[in-house]
């Protein structure tokens, strides 16, 4: 009996082993390829091959003066709650909170970015002449030598009574957003508190909030607005608004402020700056760089641009009636265009297509960035894409066309106002990041490396890779893993990885799965947009259909607005038929869904005015003057479309002749140790002349989140030589590499070169074995 019981016990213990099964990435997977900068639980869901997370990084609440004036009464806490599925109140036409809204599908992350220009920090007691300056409370504050005594000071000026035996210090004062220095109340502290309350630091990783704000420069009505998104809870004491940075040009002023108060402050603070609405900037959002250093600085500070939001789309522009575009023949560039080039009083009449500022448009700006890189050595406009709402109703991520409630408080609080006043606005877009987990560090790392895409409001999943892509095909179940090992994802760069032959590009797109109430729309096609500058310095572009067809899915049922059937997913592996290894270029993917009814068409129909009916004008007249534009057709208007194609734009991949072609070799592990030796060969497509001539140093870094190796070769000592394939390259070796930070499993390794303004990087997923780690491509 005893033997039986022991046997049973042993068997039970064996069966109840709860450790992850062999091969489970959660067991002992690779460390994250980015730094963990905050205290939090590890996410239960961590995918080294990354997952798409949907968010909105552009949200205004009542803390923005304009939102407040529009009647928005809800604040940041409400915005984050809405993002997670709660209902919030919206202002009606009389600014009363009688309407409500709720997201059918929560989003994964959000940032409240109220305008900093009206924050202010109300220092109640420190300003001589203030009405409270001579009050007993403020006198006590100024007398307090011990910071702990400041807890005697509260906002008790609202009550005559003091507080007996107040605590000298408190354990919770280091909680983000808990401001124990009660001498000042501030919007900024409140925003931090709201972000902390919303941020899920548990292993569930259910939602991520970011602290942020909008820097709102509008010289003479030209939009030079940009959002500042902070990596974690370490943020400047006061956000620098346009009021504080006006002494310097925009955007250099906000860069200076963020560098001083955050990035270079040594406090653990980090931030990205995201410009938006170049379509309303009169060409001034992306002005000529002051010099090469300024160009590199912009690339460092502004890795992204908000390409789609409520106030229109900024990808490109095509006038359907004129049959002419701004540097383009791409007829799909009529999508969600505004009629004005900026918001200054001198915009009437707006410029013609020929005179339209090309820097209002992201595609043109990216092309100009290539030309500037050629002349200056640095590309100031190397920007990935994000989407946002810019809602002033606090309804983050509320981008459904059907049932859209507007975004500007009372000014578009009713169907009549939305159609009559704001026909050309739209529900806005979303930011999608490919990140290992839903946490601030992971999402921020994705923003920094530009592994992002924008959507016009729907939620398709889209992957893009480029490189040799050996073993990558639409038939291969391990397409994703192989693509990360043999290519760079969206947002990255590559060199002449296949010599004179074109790199290979792999695209995999899946439709928005939708909800029970609102099914997702099938996909029509996938395009690759190539931009380059030819040998004569002329900007060129070409749009290639790589999967699906324009003839597909066009059968929209106009009576019910039911879209036609199409593709649930599309996949393509493509090579550029016009690839020229000597010409720098960018490639990005545009995914088009099947045609659907625009929000205005749905709203008009709901109000009894059918834009497709022969008697539409009569219906509109009966309904009211505000609905006259329900009957606007594409034959009458250069840009307006009652039927649209929702879409997604991936961040570009940049081809640079001087970038890294390949990395070969290995980092070998000493048996039983976390140390190893490095022997790598880095092949380059080109190097700066000054480097070859020995005038510049060269720094080589290898990291995977944590730095594994760094060496700086003094000028003249860089060991560059031609390799067997005829590429310039250098060999780096080291006998002392610390591998402790890598963890187990296949790591993502970044090899980075820096010499003066020359930068190049090569990011691939290497293969781990008992012997060490090595690039897959050898």
């Amino acid at each position: 009996m005893r033997i039986v019981l022991v046997t049973l016990l042993v068997a039970t213990l064996a069966c109840s082993d709860l450790s992850p099964a062999p091969g489970d990435p959660s067991a002992a997977g690779p460390a994250a390829p980015w730094l963990r900068t905050e205290e939090r639980a590890s996410c239960a869901s961590f995918d080294p091959l990354r997952q798409p997370l949907f968010g909105d990084l552009h949200v205004h609440t009542r803390f923005s003066a304009d939102a407040s004036i529009f009647g928005t009464k809800v604040g940041p806490r409400d915005a984050y709650a809405f993002a997670q599925g709660a209902s919030i109140a919206l202002a009606d036409e009389q600014e009363q909170p009688t309407r409500s809204a709720r997201l059918e599908r929560p989003i994964d992350f959000a940032a409240v970015t109220d305008h900093a220009e009206f924050f202010g920090e109300v220092n109640l007691c420190l300003t001589s002449g203030s009405p409270l300056y001579e009050t007993e409370m403020c006198q006590n504050l100024r007398k307090a030598d011990d910071p702990g005594d400041r807890f005697n000071v509260t906002v008790q000026w609202l009550f005559p009574a003091g507080i007996d035996n107040p605590p000298k210090s408190h354990a919770f004062c280091n909680t983000p957003g808990v401001d124990c220095d009660a001498q000042a109340v501030s919007v900024w502290q409140e925003m931090q508190a709201a972000a902390e309350e919303a941020y899920d630091r548990s292993e569930a990783c259910g939602f991520t909030s970011f602290v942020g704000y909008e820097h709102t420069a509008s010289p003479f009505g030209r939009h030079k607005h940009r959002n500042v998104i902070f990596r974690n809870h370490v943020v400047p004491a006061v956000p620098s608004s346009q009021l504080e940075t006006a002494a310097e040009e925009s955007p250099q002023g906000v860069w200076t402020a963020i560098e001083r108060d955050c990035i270079d402050a040594g406090s653990g603070c980090d931030a990205v700056i995201i410009p938006h609405n170049p379509n309303l900037s009169g060409g001034e959002q992306f002005e000529e760089p002051l010099d090469a250093a300024d160009a590199q600085r912009r690339q460092d500070r502004e890795p992204l641009v908000e390409i789609h939001q409520i106030k229109g789309n900024s990808e490109c522009r095509f006038d359907r009636l004129a049959g002419d575009g701004v540097g383009t023949e791409d007829e799909l560039c009529a999508f969600e265009q505004l009629t004005r080039a900026h918001e200054g009083p001198d915009n009437d009449p707006p410029p013609s297509t020929a005179a339209w500022p090309r820097r209002n448009l992201v595609r043109s700006t990216l092309q100009d960035g290539l030309a500037l890189e050629e002349s200056l050595g640095a590309n100031p406009f190397r920007m990935g894409f994000v989407g946002g709402t810019d809602t002033h109703n606090s309804n983050a991520g509320d981008t459904e066309e059907d049932g859209w409630d507007g975004a500007q408080g009372n000014s578009d609080a009713s169907p009549a106002r939305r159609i009559g006043n704001d026909l050309r606005t739209n529900p806005g877009g979303l930011t999608v990041v490919w990140a290992e987990e839903n946490s601030r560090d992971a999402i921020f790392a994705a923003l920094e490396r530009r592994e992002t895409y924008a959507t016009s409001g729907t939620r398709p999943a889209v992957r893009l890779f480029a490189g040799t892509l050996d073993g990558v095909s639409c038939d291969a179940p391990d397409l994703i893993a192989q693509a990360y090992a043999t290519g760079t994802p969206m947002g990255g760069e590559l060199g002449a990885v296949r010599f004179a032959a074109s790199p290979r590009f792999a695209v995999l797109a899946a439709k928005d799965p939708g909800t029970d109430e609102v099914p997702g729309t099938d996909l029509q096609r996938v395009q690759i947009v190539k931009g380059w500058v030819d040998g004569s310095g002329v900007a060129r572009e070409r749009v290639y259909d790589v999967a699906g067809s324009a003839a597909d899915g066009t059968g929209l049922d106009r009576s019910s607005c039911t879209p036609a059937a199409g593709a649930r997913e599309l996949c393509a592996v493509w090579e550029d038929p016009s690839f020229d290894p000597s010409q720098r270029a960018f490639y990005y993917v545009r995914v088009l869904e099947n045609p659907t009814c625009r929000w205005s068409t749905l709203t008009c129909k709901a109000e009894g005015v059918d834009p497709f009916a022969a008697d539409c004008a009569q219906q509109a007249a009966a309904r009211g003057e505000a609905f006259a534009d329900c009957c606007l057709t594409q034959a009458e208007d250069a840009f307006f479309e009652p039927v649209i194609q929702e879409r997604a734009w991936t961040s570009p991949i940049w081809y640079r002749p001087e970038s890294i072609v390949r990395v070969t070799g290995a980092i070998t592990r000493r048996r039983g140790a976390d140390a190893g030796a490095l022997d790598l060969r880095i092949a380059l497509g080109g190097v700066p002349e000054k480097l070859v001539q020995g005038e510049l140093p060269l720094t080589v870094t290898i990291d995977s989140g944590s730095e594994l190796f760094r060496v700086t070769y003094p000028p003249g000592s860089v060991p560059i030589e031609f390799d067997a394939a005829g590429y310039l390259g250098l060999r780096v070796t080291s006998e002392a590499i610390d591998l402790a930070s890598l963890g187990a499993g296949d790591p993502t390794i970044r090899v980075r070169l820096e010499s003066g303004l020359y930068r190049a990087e090569h990011v691939r997923r290497w293969r781990a074995s008992d012997d060490g780690i090595a690039p897959v491509e050898q």
Partner: protein
């Protein structure tokens, strides 16, 4: 039919300036806020507001409290006054300093009438009302007790972790169902483990791992798939389950029930929720006191 260009005042930035300018029609003297030697409470500051219409609503009360409490040279107010003055071309010469322009605007009563300044001061007062006093901060025992009572609100939802072999409807067409049956049989016959099936099926954009609560799974695969996954037994290959994209053979590796995490993990969220809830009643009390003092209604107890 053509669409007219938007009127200038449709643009938010200009609209704000125009509102301020329009209010110049109604001019009121700005109350003097010179400091006095005797300590004052906000109540007396409110009472010291110039005679006029009694506060009709909480926003007016808060505005007066904010106006009395905020420094006369508050930089946000100053910047707004300068902007208004320039827009309205109030300066006599081009050499006026910002301070001089602000003073001109203040003299015209714009500090009391401009909608942006008014809302800023209202917000400052509201924030002050809501700002937690040190006495509001809980000690550790109190916070833990609060979390024990309310832990369910912070609980992580039930979660499933699974792997899947994906068969694409687009790629396989009419052979989809048969292919799914064949692959399922193959997986079970060869006793393929949950993490050993990477070479089977079709590439899936989101990879081979499913991990998250039901609503997250629904957002990735569609609501029907998420619902069906709830009833799949773990420990072997099951299916096929249909998603918005095709069929999936799934191996449920783990199901974790909903559970509140340790307090230390969610401390910040819990603390802010605690402070906000504790503060709600306090804010109403403070506002009532302000209201009481401002209106000085008979029988009103401040």
């Amino acid at each position: 039919m053509s669409v007219e260009a938007r009127p200038a005042l449709a643009f938010p930035a200009l609209r704000l300036l125009a509102i301020g300018a329009a209010l110049i029609v109604a001019v009121r003297a700005w109350p003097s806020t010179a400091p006095s030697a005797a300590p004052r409470t906000i109540a007396t500051l409110v009472a010291a507001a110039p005679p006029g219409a009694s506060p009709a609503n909480d926003d007016e009360i808060l505005f007066r409290a904010g106006a009395a409490a905020v420094a006369a040279d508050d930089p946000v107010v100053e910047a707004r006054l300068v902007k208004l003055a320039r827009y309205l071309e109030l300066g006599g010469t081009a050499e006026e300093s910002d301070a001089e322009l602000a003073e001109v605007a203040r003299g015209l009563g714009l500090a009391g009438e401009d909608v942006v300044i008014r809302r800023y001061l209202v917000e400052a007062a509201r924030l002050a009302l809501e700002h937690p006093a040190p006495a509001d901060l809980p000690d550790e025992d109190e916070l833990r007790a609060y979390y024990e009572r309310n832990g369910a609100r912070f609980a992580a939802p039930a979660r499933v972790r699974a792997t899947h072999v994906y068969l694409s409807a687009a790629r396989r067409g009419e052979a989809l169902a048969a292919d799914a049956a064949r692959v399922l049989n193959d997986l079970n016959t060869r006793a393929v483990g949950p993490w050993e099936a990477a070479a089977l099926g079709d590439p899936f954009v989101r990879g081979a791992v499913i991990d998250g609560p039901r609503d997250a799974v629904a957002r990735s695969f569609g609501p029907e798939f998420a619902g069906a996954l709830e009833s799949v037994a773990g420990g072997s290959w099951q299916g096929p389950i249909e998603s918005a994209y095709g069929l999936h053979l799934v191996w449920v590796v783990e199901r974790a029930p909903a559970a509140p995490p340790p307090l230390d993990v969610v401390r910040g969220r819990v603390l802010h929720t605690f402070l906000r809830e504790r503060g709600a009643a306090r804010v109403q009390q403070r506002l009532a006191a302000l209201r009481c003092r401002a209106t000085a209604e008979p029988g009103c107890v401040s």
